[in-house]
């Protein structure tokens, strides 16, 4: 059996699954339940100066009959008294010494506030700190959260203050509300942060109520931009993670991956693209803590199948496979093939290709079932038909190289090879 044991900056946890700083981690009651369910660690809900929340706070995007494909919130940092939070953190550390306890922080924007807060938190016995430079709403207006994360210089300054006081590992959480996460990432690494985590939520409007004309979530006839998360943000998070994992400087520190992780598969994808561990929020908010059971078991089985003994055996394995467009092999070509035994004659491949791609699928009329076949000479290998086909492995892409030799775009131009073949 593979070992799921995780070591993040010396912070040990029995598995790489942490709960992200958010409502699931905002009090002892939840955190104990999470640990009992099997979560490897938690990042406690962000602590800082006192705030007041509004009602309502959340909204979601449903898709194809499924609830909460995307989730958004307009909540602030912890709205519980600091002293109670600290007391409860200490109790959780004592009751579950084998689990990771990270505390998320967002102090007021001055050195003293940060130093005081760090001191108090370290006294609880917590194992690490996470700096919330990402919260996109409510706190930014006060010059905190994303307002810090969006400005590499301010971020650098705050991290420097933090590093003066901290004696336990410091993880800086990045905001995705920037055109690239790399500048802030580099800046805080230079300032001495021990690790990075990403992403926090993305500014969003999930929808507009067609009767009240007010967007969601609704607060007395008004709304504000909320932070978007859940399955919908995963591809964006993966891209941002990759840029951090590929950068010369930021790749030097461990990364905690966050954003839309719901299953062990999602977690593996984050880890393949460079995350040493992962954090989860929305999936737990949708289903409860029990989802970790399959995350543990699924990861274990997958690692056994692949022959990986420990997490380090595959962390970052896919990072080098994401390259620049001009380095792709132009002589690679594949063509769609329809397995007629599996085909259910829904016509979805046909209409997608016919209306919006390369008219490469032939329709032979039948009543009630038409027959669909690929016109090989026309197929550019775009994948569209395979993506829309409702039957697994019914359409496969068969390799038909144009030529054996690897030729990329730069070389192609150099040799003056023909363009616009379709």
């Amino acid at each position: 059996m593979a070992s799921l044991e995780s070591n993040f900056l010396g912070i040990k946890s029995p598995n790489p699954f942490w709960l992200a700083s958010a409502p699931p981690t905002d009090k002892k009651y939840n955190v104990l339940r999470a640990f009992e369910a099997g979560w490897g660690g938690v990042v406690w809900k962000t602590l800082g100066s006192q705030v007041k929340n509004v009602s309502s706070r959340y909204s979601a995007v449903d898709y194809g009959g499924q609830r909460v494909m995307g989730f958004n919130n307009i909540e602030l940092i912890s709205d519980r008294p600091l002293e109670i939070n600290l007391k409860e953190i200490a109790e959780c550390v004592r009751l579950f010494p084998d689990r990771a306890m990270i505390v998320s922080l967002m102090a007021d924007n001055d050195r003293r506030s940060w130093h005081e807060l760090i001191k108090k938190v370290e006294d609880t016995g917590a194992h690490g700190l996470e700096l919330n430079f990402g919260c996109p709403h409510g706190m930014t207006e006060r010059g905190m959260g994303a307002a810090v994360g969006q400005d590499p210089e301010i971020a650098c300054m705050v991290v420097e203050w933090v590093m003066e006081a901290a004696t336990i590992p410091v993880i800086t959480k990045l905001t995705p509300n920037v055109h690239s996460v790399v500048p802030t990432g580099r800046s805080v690494v230079k300032a001495g942060t021990n690790g990075l985590s990403l992403i926090n939520t993305i500014q969003s409007v999930t929808g507009v109520d067609l009767d009240t004309f007010v967007p969601n979530p609704y607060v007395a006839g008004k709304s504000v931009f909320g932070g978007y998360c859940g399955p919908a943000v995963k591809p964006i998070a993966l891209k941002m993670l990759t840029t951090i994992a590929q950068d010369e400087l930021t790749s030097k520190v461990p990364i905690s991956g966050i954003g839309g992780i719901s299953t062990w598969r999602d977690a593996v994808e984050f880890m393949l693209l460079g995350a040493s561990n992962v954090q989860v929020c929305t999936a737990a908010m949708k289903h409860g803590f029990r989802i970790v059971e399959d995350m543990i078991e699924g990861l274990n089985n997958w690692m056994d199948e692949k022959g990986f003994q420990k997490l380090e055996d595959f962390i970052g394995k896919s990072v080098p496979t994401i390259t620049h467009w001009e380095e792709l092999d132009i002589n690679y070509h594949h063509i769609a093939k329809i397995n007629q035994d599996k085909c259910i004659h829904c016509g979805l491949c046909y209409i997608a290709c016919e209306d919006t791609s390369h008219q490469s699928i032939k329709l032979a009329y039948g009543k009630p079932y038409n027959t669909y076949t690929v016109i090989e000479e026309e197929c550019v290998g775009c994948n569209l038909c395979k993506l829309v086909c409702p039957v697994d492995n019914c359409i496969t892409m068969e390799e038909h190289r144009v030529a054996p030799e690897y030729v990329n775009w730069i070389e192609w131009q150099k040799r003056g090879l023909p363009l616009n073949d379709h």
Binding site: G64, G65, C346, G347, I351, P368, V391
Partner: protein, 446 residues
């Protein structure tokens, strides 16, 4: 043994005749199924619907919350879409060809979804069609069944003034008087007729029988065209001894009484034999059982391979506890004191295929006797012979012959059961549409 009415309590009747295909209870339930639909292109379900309802489109419209649009999509192809959602044998039509069958998955419950949208439309009385200004043209339709109503709706929409002559006191045809009560209620049928005619420009004259109260010559004179949607009303005679005995009833009449007079008033025997294996036979058998008959036996002279009803219909009868005897042809009804005592049947076997490859049952010479006190005849219907002869309408075995909906008499068109000899409601609706198109062309309105 006796034939008697009022066998059950009010609750028992209610339960036995409650909706056999209950609707979705909630919007959520409908959405779960609607979201399963793949939105097929050139969809097999649509191709398998005689009225070509754009099934994927109306289902998609349920998922987008556009129920009005969904109902409009259905009614544009089939103005009886609400009724059809309850009575169509969908397992051999749309649902039977849903691509999910090919994955051994349950098909999309198309009928149930269709019922969802159309029921909403009728409940809220959404009027989804507007009538064009009157063209001054007048058309007479004979028969307010599915064919007649569907024809009337298309014509009225195009600005034709329609008058329907109906011999009964209610509209809907066999929908109202023939189809099993656990599929549609008389009240629903009435609402459906009202909903269809609410477009305006359609007048129904009830209790007006062609051949009795009015003549074809009169209609031809007063109207620009005539459409005959008279169906096939009369049950086929068995031509066997004892057929006229008390206790031998015609299935259509039996069902008609049940629908028209109320369940407790309809008498049924202890042991009932039903002759035939079509939809009518199944409906008569199951409803006899549901009225309180102790034993119901369906007698059919061919085998399961040739049965005209669908497996689904047969299952309903079997689940209701009806017995089936294959390869048995009625030979004689025996009596005691003028009342039915037993049914003698010949044992049959399937003969060699004839030139056309069709095999017919042949008598083995052996017989057996069923002790019964009631016999229901459902061996098919025969068209209105007299009427068709009287007006010199060309026919083949009294099915009206048409060429693109036109009969041999100029300006007289026909469609539905009267032409096809008896199919389903949905076929009659399509025939009504086709008839209307042909009439519009004849009147140079399109």
């Amino acid at each position: 043994m006796a034939i008697q009415n009022n066998r059950l309590t009010a609750e028992q009747y209610e339960q036995n005749f409650s909706d056999i295909h209950p609707p979705f209870e909630t919007q959520n339930a409908a959405l779960v199924e609607a979201n399963r639909c793949l939105f097929c292109y050139d969809a097999p379900c649509t191709k398998s619907c005689p009225t070509s309802i754009d099934v994927p489109k109306f289902i998609k419209q349920i998922t987008s919350g556009n129920i009005k649009g969904s109902a409009h999509t259905i009614f544009s192809s089939n103005i009886m879409g609400a009724g059809c959602s309850r009575v169509c044998p969908v397992e051999k039509l749309c649902e039977g060809s849903c691509v999910f069958n090919l994955m051994d998955e349950p098909p999309i419950p198309i009928a149930k979804l269709q019922r969802y949208s159309t029921e909403k439309a009728m409940e809220n009385n959404w009027q989804l069609f507007e009538r064009k200004p009157s063209t001054g043209k007048k058309v007479a339709i004979v028969g307010a069944g599915p064919a007649g109503l569907s024809c009337a709706h298309v014509l009225s929409k195009e600005g034709v003034d329609v008058t329907i002559y109906e011999k009964e006191s209610k509209g809907g045809g066999l929908m109202t008087y023939g189809i099993a009560a656990y599929k549609v209620t008389p009240q629903f049928c009435e609402e459906e007729v009202n909903y269809i005619t609410a477009i305006g420009g359609i007048e129904i004259k009830y209790n007006q029988e062609l051949g009795k109260d009015i003549s074809l010559a009169q209609l031809k004179k007063e109207y620009d065209a005539v459409f005959l949607g008279i169906g096939v009303g009369i049950a086929r005679q068995l031509e066997i001894p004892g057929e006229k005995l008390e206790g031998v009833v015609d299935a259509i009449q039996f069902i008609y009484d049940l629908r028209a007079k109320g369940y407790p008033t309809v008498p049924v025997g202890d042991k009932v034999a039903v002759i035939g294996m079509g939809m009518t036979a199944i409906d008569a058998a199951t409803q006899a059982k549901r009225l309180g008959a102790k034993e119901v036996t369906i007698v059919y002279r061919r085998t399961k391979d040739e049965m005209p009803c669908t497996q689904h219909e047969l299952d309903i009868a079997m689940l209701d506890g009806c017995e089936i005897i294959w390869l048995a042809a009625p030979k004689k009804v025996k009596s005691e004191k003028g009342k039915v005592k037993s049914l003698v049947c010949s044992k049959m076997q399937m003969g060699e295929p004839d030139a056309s490859g069709r095999r017919s049952p042949v008598d083995t010479g052996e017989t057996f006797t069923l002790e019964v006190d009631m016999v229901i005849k459902a061996a098919g219907q025969t068209p209105y012979e007299k009427l068709i002869k009287k007006f010199n309408i060309q026919h083949s075995a009294f099915k009206i012959k048409t060429d693109n909906c036109a009969t041999n008499i100029k300006g007289v068109f026909a469609g539905g059961d009267a032409v096809n000899g008896g199919k389903e409601v949905v076929d009659a609706v399509q025939a009504g549409k086709d008839g209307a198109r042909a009439i519009l062309k004849y009147l140079k309105l399109c």
